[in-house]
């Protein structure tokens, strides 16, 4: 960016491995601690490791209160020499990756377990909304208390009038993801979704209707960051980090959100990865509402600003299509497990490019882009992140 001259160091020698998804549930009587423990255990087991092997631990969660990553170390019996807690919601997966990779690269930790998980009690969503952030408490929650539905309805309404997008354009994203989700046995949504069903669904907060909204669920996601030589020695399928970016509170002067922080940093991401948009075999966007996925298509360089509607009309976003997108069904069809929603795309991408995605596998996939977006602090998402990763494929 402007003023920065030194070239960023790459991530050579550090890899991602052992992607784990604890199957989601709509409601759970269990706690975030329980869900995080399950995902951590699953990830370590798949890598043939024990909790004692973990010397770095990174946590993202909304429902751990009154605990943080600190309380979890004692609760789960971990003794890490490197500890992180990332309160960035939908941006947390890539941010966890960035930080953990640097720690491993510098030798501050050998194996960092990155875990995100949340529980969903019957009343926890409402409780979280009313005290999500100070600006939300002061300046958005008192206005109808529509939560993120209302905030994204405003962004969607504005995007539609600015660029001529129709509800059908957003529907294409949702319908394709549902198609993908039907191949994912763990997806919360099990029934096909037609465009007619999408268009005739009841309004939640105009122009946001039922199928534009994610279903809050309980769940957890995890992956490990370690040295490449260690992954090879253990025979673990692994992914390389080709480049990554993050940005917070970008474009504060925009009267309403029309772009995310990616637009500031995307050239740097491609330069660092020595790649172009065409090189991506699949894209995992943060998809709590389809409008934000459409903005990511634009801001991540797959089409120009305002060309999102035309892009989704021309491309096939399903697993077998010419632009595989959110191959596990994404949050829209697999469910939003709180902060794990910031991990779902990354964990699925690791599976994809290591050829371990099973029923959702994109044939021959070796390179993926993953982007994160998080935290409607008041009227817009504040955090954005993205990474390009690649693996050996199948």
């Amino acid at each position: 960016m402007a003023g920065r001259t030194s070239k960023r160091m790459g991530y050579e020698g550090v890899v991602l491995a052992a992607p784990a998804t604890t199957p989601y549930q709509r409601f759970s009587k269990e706690t975030a601690h329980w869900w995080i423990a399950r995902a951590l255990r699953q990830s370590l087991q798949s890598a043939g490791l024990s909790p004692r092997d973990v010397d770095g631990f990174s946590v993202s969660s909304f429902t751990l209160f009154p605990d943080t990553a600190v309380g979890l170390t004692q609760h789960l019996g971990l003794t890490p020499r490197w500890l992180d807690h990332i309160p960035m919601g939908g941006a947390s997966g890539v941010v966890a990756l960035r930080r953990a990779a640097r720690a491993v690269q510098a030798g501050d930790a050998d194996i960092v377990a990155c875990v995100a998980g949340d529980t969903n009690h019957v009343d926890s969503f409402r409780r979280m909304l009313s005290s999500f952030s100070r600006f939300a408490q002061d300046a958005s929650y008192p206005y109808g208390a529509g939560g993120p539905n209302a905030c994204f309805a405003l962004l969607t309404d504005h995007y539609m009038s600015a660029y001529g997008a129709t509800r059908e354009d957003f529907g294409r994203i949702c319908v394709a993801q549902r198609d993908n989700a039907l191949k994912n046995p763990h997806a919360v949504m099990k029934k096909p979704l037609t465009m007619d069903q999408y268009l005739s669904a009841r309004m939640i907060s105009d122009p946001i209707a039922l199928f534009d909204c994610v279903m809050p669920v309980s769940g957890a996601e995890a992956f490990l960051v370690m040295r490449e030589e260690d992954a090879r020695a253990a025979g673990l399928p692994h992914a390389h980090i080709r480049g990554s970016i993050e940005r917070h509170n970008a474009f504060p002067e925009d009267p309403i959100q029309m772009r995310g922080g990616w637009a500031m940093d995307i050239d740097e991401l491609y330069a660092m990865a020595d790649a172009r948009p065409d090189d991506m075999d699949l894209l995992q966007t943060y998809d709590d509402y389809p409008v934000i996925s459409m903005m990511q298509f634009e801001d991540l360089g797959f089409c120009g600003k305002g060309d999102g509607p035309a892009f989704v009309r021309e491309r096939d976003l399903t697993i077998a299509g010419d632009f595989p997108h959110n191959t596990s069904g994404g949050q829209l069809s697999a469910g939003q497990a709180g902060a794990a929603g910031g991990f779902i795309g990354l964990v699925e991408a690791i599976r994809q490019i290591t050829g371990t995605a099973g029923p959702t596998q994109v044939e021959g996939a070796t390179t993926a882009m993953v982007s994160g977006f998080g935290m409607i602090n008041y009227d817009r998402g504040v955090c954005s992140s993205a990474a390009i990763i690649s693996g050996a494929g199948t």
Partner: protein, 419 residues
């Protein structure tokens, strides 16, 4: 266009009165600046004292230069509705009971964008003006109105939630004998109040304007002496369940401070009427009103106290009267806190010397009964909490805000007619 509301049907006594739920009242300390401005119906935002940048949402430090000097200033309310939504499902019970609810993003001409409630007649994508008002939880909220008035715009259901419009409401005005009674009754009749009860103390004693009161449409004169607990309780038993707006108009005024009065007789009368009168009314009428804050179009809406602005700073020429009003002012703050869970507003109307026999020796300007009545009705229509009527009251509150101690010294020099 807004549909005019219709006269509410007679209440079915078998039906349960809807419990008042509230929008979220949680706010940071900085955000309470918006609430303080809303109490007077002013649209104010923080403006950086160093770099001049406008801030929203309210902050503790300037987002341009990090200065912590962020005074609140009146802001140009003009803007454009750049996005909108209709909330149909809400996580909050208050809104859930009132959906669909229109919300929007307004880009202010002055700079920042604000999320706000949107009036039904505000044109999609068009020009709007922002008002800042108290919501049912008593916190300041922003509201986008069409740039010009529209037919029946005051009947917009979202707007009626933040106002206390007398239309179709039942009003009790205390003290028929007061010089203000006729003007108040006329103003409420004109504003569409469905019944205007006027409390009359000592009914056997004639007074000049009784016939004028009786001639006003929808007026019913009822016996009420605010110095007599039994009288207040008895009336509350009869009409407490259908009193939507109560105007505490009774007051006892005599000139004099401490040493120019030889005894405490008048001081006792001042406290009996001005302070204990409020207490008795609030104890008898308060609970029923608080329980009916969400009772349809003629829900209980507001409690009005007419107070001397010298409640803020004593005017020695009326020193003991000022003291009784200071007591009533303090009690009104307590009443406000107790009424808030029911969503019923306590509006204090502060006046300087009124145009009546007891203030006759004072020089002008004085507040005429008609001006006082107008201020009360428009304050209710605007949903205000603090109204300062006339030049003396407005001048005094400005000076009080600038420095209460300086004002105290100034007051000892003046005759109260304004500095």
């Amino acid at each position: 266009m807004t549909d005019a509301i219709l006269p509410p049907p007679k209440k079915d006594p078998q039906k349960r009165t809807r419990t008042q739920t509230l929008p979220s009242g949680l706010r940071s300390r900085a955000a309470l600046g918006l609430t303080a401005a809303a109490a007077e119906g002013r649209f104010m935002l923080q403006v950086c004292g160093e770099c001049g940048a406008l801030q929203y949402p309210p902050r503790d430090a300037c987002s341009t230069c990090l200065s912590t000097d962020l005074p609140w200033r009146d802001i140009d309310p003009a803007g454009e509705l750049i996005a909108e939504t209709t909330v149909r499902t809400s996580t909050n019970t208050y809104f859930r009971e009132r959906t669909p609810w229109r919300v929007g993003t307004v880009r202010l001409d002055a700079g920042p964008s604000v999320m706000c409630h949107v009036h039904g007649d505000a044109p999609r994508g068009g020009r709007v003006r922002i008002i800042n008002r108290l919501d049912k939880s008593g916190q300041g909220v922003l509201y986008a109105l069409p740039p010009e008035g529209t037919p029946h715009m005051e009947d917009d259901p979202q707007l009626r939630e933040i106002t206390a419009d007398p239309k179709f409401r039942r009003v009790l005005i205390t003290d028929a004998r007061s010089e203000n009674a006729v003007a108040l009754a006329e103003a409420f009749a004109k504003a569409g109040a469905s019944i205007i009860f006027i409390g009359e103390p000592e009914g056997w004693r004639p007074y000049p304007h009784r016939a004028a009161l009786e001639a006003i449409p929808n007026v019913q004169i009822v016996p009420l002496d605010v110095t007599d607990t039994a009288s207040v309780t008895e009336l509350a038993g009869e009409i407490g369940g259908k009193t939507d707006i109560l105007v505490n108009n009774a007051r006892f005024v005599r000139p004099g401070g401490i040493m120019d009065r030889g005894d405490t007789v008048f001081a006792r009368d001042e406290m009996e009427v001005n302070y204990l009168g409020l207490m008795r009314l609030a104890q008898s009428f308060g609970p029923a009103m608080r329980g009916r804050g969400a009772d349809g179009d003629n829900s209980a809406a507001a409690w009005v106290n007419i107070l001397s602005v010298y409640a803020y700073s004593n005017m020695p020429a009326f020193g003991a009267f000022s003291a009784s009003n200071a007591a009533a002012y303090s009690l009104s703050q307590c009443l406000r806190a107790e009424m808030r869970p029911g969503g019923v507003r306590v509006m204090n109307v502060y006046t300087g010397p009124t145009d009546d026999a007891w203030h006759q020796p004072l020089p002008p300007p004085k507040v005429a009964p008609a001006a006082l009545a107008r201020a009360i009705v428009s304050g209710l229509k605007d949903g205000l909490e603090d109204v300062f009527v006339g030049d003396v009251a407005k001048d005094l509150i400005e000076r009080w805000r600038a420095g209460a101690k300086v004002l105290e010294r100034e007051m000892s020099e003046t005759d109260g007619g304004g500095a």
